[in-house]
Symmetry: C2
Amino acid sequence: MGVLSKNSATILDVARLARCSITTVSRVLNNSSHKVNEETRKRVLEAIRALDYRPNALAKSLLSKRTMTIGAVVPDISNPYYAEVVRGIQDAADQEGYTVLIQNTDRLSDRLKRGIHILREKNVDGFIFTGGLHGMEGIGELLCELKERTVVIGRLGEDLPSVQVDNEQASILAVEHLVQKGYRRIAYVSGALCSTTMVDRLEGFRNALKKFNLQEVPGYIQEGKQTLQSGYEAMRQLLSLPETPEAILFANDQMLFGAMKAISEEGLRVPKDFAVIGFDNVPLCSYFDPTITSIEIPKYELGQAATRLLFSLIRGETPHAPLWFPVQLIERESTAESKLQSVDRQKRKRLPTY
Amino acid sequence: MGVLSKNSATILDVARLARCSITTVSRVLNNSSHKVNEETRKRVLEAIRALDYRPNALAKSLLSKRTMTIGAVVPDISNPYYAEVVRGIQDAADQEGYTVLIQNTDRLSDRLKRGIHILREKNVDGFIFTGGLHGMEGIGELLCELKERTVVIGRLGEDLPSVQVDNEQASILAVEHLVQKGYRRIAYVSGALCSTTMVDRLEGFRNALKKFNLQEVPGYIQEGKQTLQSGYEAMRQLLSLPETPEAILFANDQMLFGAMKAISEEGLRVPKDFAVIGFDNVPLCSYFDPTITSIEIPKYELGQAATRLLFSLIRGETPHAPLWFPVQLIERESTAESKLQSVDRQKRKRLPTY
DNA sequence: CATTGCAAGGAAAACCTTTTCCATAGCTCG
DNA sequence: CGAGCTATGGAAAAGGTTTTCCTTGCAATG
């Protein structure tokens, strides 16, 4: 309507127009228990509408010490895994009227520190850390008074309230699946070991080898970054080994997809020549050719649960034990028994390997 | 040190400890031009350190009417395309000390409205809209006074300052490429036509058909959502047609990947049986088997440029004409000439089609 | 009639900064 | 010696809310 006023209306403007005090306006606004005459209320509401008044959140926050904003620290938002976790966080926050401020760290510890700094400066009401961060012990200090309003998805070294997934167990699950399918020479491609997630998955793989009496072949464990390119390179490494593995477990689906290129470049096929299995079960797994067996992590649910846990902390409830979420192996074509391997397996069956 | 005070120190605490007024503390803090005695300054700095004082951004913002935060509205952050755009925005914002508040709309117009509402409430200093939004004319009103601090990536119907890519031209480029390779029966799979991006790409495709004298075959234009599943379904539709297309242009790479599954399920191959070409050139394109020809959109640069444009608006500079970014066709295996088609092409060459 | 209680409303403090304006003291200059 | 300048410092307003604590009428109760 007409000229837009440069500065939006304040509560004082409303009070003036409604011929009452700002106290009354405030009461109407927050429908306080303090009674206000029905007629006055109508005048106020009318004035609010006429002026298109909306309370200034800044002023409110200054007083209430609540910004209705929570901060989320994620290693890499373009990773579909974290994108989904963030989605869970945002939806849960939304339900309680909170907004989420996202800080990307790109897995760099100084960007992490900077992120925390910004979030504190913005006066967020709580923190959610995702991905953990290995060997980054100083975090507790950075959080200061916010320490009691922090939730971690995964581990962080510090013992903060958390929502977790048993990554170690997940690796064992994957290896078990491969063993059952008759694969024995199993390699592992890890992501950057700067997140506890990656540390746990690797640990789990090693334990699984022991558990199933398989030996760790030199060169069968590759470390890279969680990218297509890195998966490709790791696979090339594996392909160059004198004795190539029969099956490969990838610490994340992205790396697996990258590796598929290396495999097909050599004219090799999955699962005929290699079985592969990924982590995270991103949507593409069921659309790839062949479809990819992957460990499903309840990404959305993790984000959601972490946020709810955070709200319970904010409400002053005492933190309870870490919340564990189940993982699940989704079997698809990439780990089917190839004919060749079925034969192999027959042969092996006679050997008392385990 | 020792026990953490529940409420962090204020400027008053610092002043008391340094035995001076808050005015002086403020001056030291913002190293104002107003002189302050070297010894006093030292006392203040000491007090700041001792109390671990950090100014309250809320109070500062209340006064300055600057939150050092900009809002970004994106249709879908889990889409790699937007993830990359957001990355560009964040990096550029970072450089100027700004923080980005992201609002996902999931392409729903009420979530969009809600997002705008939240951003206004949080007093962001400016807006960036991505993806455009078709048939959503009321936006200008929602923005109100922020209208002059809004930048759009793409079009929005309203004429706001923008950073653009010629999607229409891009479609023409793609079709031209296919025609040059000898393909004539070209289909198009569109995403949801609620974003101007999608509208423009479709428009471009239609114009390209005209330009190259190809006719629009009924059923050759499919509309879906920008998802793997939707791409898969669209492809199934195309495959069920009495005469299948020779080449398909997909409005985004995700849909293309979904379609690849439908193709391989039929035992068909790319590019032998179909040429396919995508939009966005996400990283996976060069890792897929076959590698995928796609239209490269400078996603990161778009985000970056939009943010810089926004800052120039915030500084009070007058908006200039829309900024155009070039698109580029990245040719890969998925549009190689199949032997079969080369023959076809020879045949066709005799016909005076265009 | 005096007292109590309630409905309705307002004044002012508090939240934490920045900024404008003023104060003091010591100097310099004409 | 007075005017004006500089170096240094503080008081107070402003920014927009919420909340605590009054105040004023009026009706009900004894």
